[in-house]
């Protein structure tokens, strides 16, 4: 891959700043592999839970103008079978892999971390986007800086891999949560998870389209929300940010970087532009760099931080 795309992320050398995010093309080692082969610099596993989960009944996705709703329901084969896929991927590829895990309490996160410690993964990502678990003030886990701090602090104590906190955009003050993650020892932030959630209705059958009724928004239309939250967070934390949400083009990826992202996730755009999307965006980034005379990614400027 073109040298111009080389980047560092937490002391790892990465061949492209693009990341395959959790939940996209990652139910199998081969899904990770084809994404890496198509130009992703880092790939992320599905968010694994302790037990296997079938996820929600279909329809689990629904398109609208500007994006998709999804309510996969965290379907995954469970941490044991999941890590087997991750390991099989690592036997074939030198592309770094982020193992994503999901739980709703410290204990389960710790158990998951122990499993991940035994794997061939490179990074551990904690999916902290649960809207259904509340702290004592009735604030959802995703929005509770105390919960987030507690979980990360505990996980950091035992994790053998750098720890990435994946944050939900659906909170008042994502910056305070990012800061809580940072102060608890998180090595990086990954943001944003899906927005909303939202709903769509079939007017002929008078039914919500998703069987789960509600699903998170992803795709181009969430990009402005992602950029804003990444920019705010970048202005106040020092740890690197994997920025994502609606990235579809090289231009979008550059926007993410200018907002403060070190790495850029590309999820739903796999639908819009095919699995080749990573290389397409890689090439567009190079084009942009050539046109604007940036010789390496570090040279691409960031917005002035918010005061």
């Amino acid at each position: 891959m073109n040298k111009k795309l080389r980047t560092k992320f937490l002391n790892a050398e990465i061949k492209s700043p693009l990341v395959l995010p959790a939940g996209i093309m990652d139910m199998s080692f081969s899904g990770l592999d084809i994404s890496a082969k198509n130009g992703a610099g880092i790939v992320t596993s599905k968010s694994f839970t302790l037990q296997p989960r079938t996820g929600h009944k279909g329809p689990v996705v629904a398109e609208f103008e500007g994006g998709f709703l999804n309510a996969m329901g965290l379907c995954n084969p469970g941490i044991v079978d999941g890590l087997a896929e991750t390991n099989e991927f690592k036997e074939r590829s030198d592309t770094p892999v982020i193992v994503s895990v999901f739980a709703t309490n410290v204990n389960d996160f710790l158990k998951l971390t122990e499993y991940v410690n035994t794997s061939k993964g490179d990074f551990l990502e904690l999916n902290l986007s649960c809207p259904n678990v509340f702290d004592e003030f009735g604030i959802p886990l995703a929005a509770s800086k105390d919960e987030v701090h507690k979980i990360i602090k505990a996980v950091k104590k035992i994790s053998e891999f750098p720890v990435i906190a994946k944050l939900s955009p659906n909170v008042y003050d994502i910056v305070s949560i990012a800061k809580a993650a940072e102060s608890a020892g998180a090595d990086a932030i990954c943001m944003i998870n899906t927005v909303g959630p939202g709903m769509l209705i079939d007017t002929k059958m008078v039914k919500s389209v998703l069987f789960n009724k509600f699903g998170g928004l992803s795709g181009p239309c969430i990009k402005p929300i992602a950029l804003k939250l990444i920019y705010q967070t970048y202005s106040e934390v020092r740890i690197p940010i994997i920025g994502m949400g609606g990235v579809k083009s090289g231009e979008d990826a550059i926007e993410m970087m200018m907002a403060g992202a070190s790495m850029v996730g590309v999820g739903t755009a796999v639908y819009y532009r095919g699995i080749e999307v990573f290389n397409k965006i890689n090439n567009e980034i190079i084009e942009f760099m050539d046109k604007n005379e940036y010789s390496n990614l570090e040279g691409v400027p960031k917005l002035e931080k918010l005061k």
């Binding site: 996209i24 199998s28 899904g31 996820g55 279909g58 689990v60 996705v61 629904a62 069987f211 639908y271």
Partner: protein
Amino acid sequence: MNKRITLKIAKIEDETHDIKTFTFKHKLNAKPGQFIMITDFEGGEKPLSISDCSEDEFSITVKKIGEFTSRLFQKREGDFMSIRGAFGSSFFISDGKVLLVGGGYGSIPLYLLAKYLSEAGADISVINGARTKNDLVFCDKFRELGIKLIITTDDGTYGEKVSSVDVARKILSNQLVPKPQLGNNDHFQAGAWKRENDEKKKKFDFVYAAGPEMMMKSLQGVIGDIEYEFIFERYMKCAIGICGNCTMDPLGIRLCVEGPVLSKKIVEQITEFGKYHRDATGKRILY
């Protein structure tokens, strides 16, 4: 194309005791091998092959298996169903000498294919097999196309007791030469179709198969170096190539996008073929 459309069921027809065809009036523009995702919004959205498709209507043909298909079987004409698609790859349309091998409800996508092949002027033989006579689908429809039809049953309830793969092997090696059927006299009869010595041996140009994965796996072993396409099933959720549930190892082929029809070159590289598939959790299930 992922736009959802909600349509009334225009017609429901019985194919067998547990297979029905549902027809919708809508210009779908689907090609043989493609599928739709269909739902009634009561839980479950499922991939089903297009079994027929014309200018202004299309059909799906469904075997009652579990929760969703059972509910579908209770629908009546005039009820709404919501679909998106058509999705996926379609069969190559050859104009040469071709063999179609279908097993059970797997034969469903082969009918539309046969229609297209027939229009293209191909020399078509179809082996339509099933476990037992009651599971045979589309025999009449194939007959109407005026092609060479060979019906087999594993248990001999229609014709001899024989596996479709065995028959395919004999036909592909030109030991047997299927003749255009006479009336309904188209069950497998090894004797009747023995090659006469004066019959010319023309090699087959293309084999198509649809049916249980283990059947296709065996068939692969008898095809030799002839070009082929198989149609596969994997657990599908998004059908738009993002969730990764339908990927096939080790290529990461997404069956909903690069499939469900896969060509020889791809099939030969698929190590999970005939070994395992993944369920709704992503767990591997061995065959």
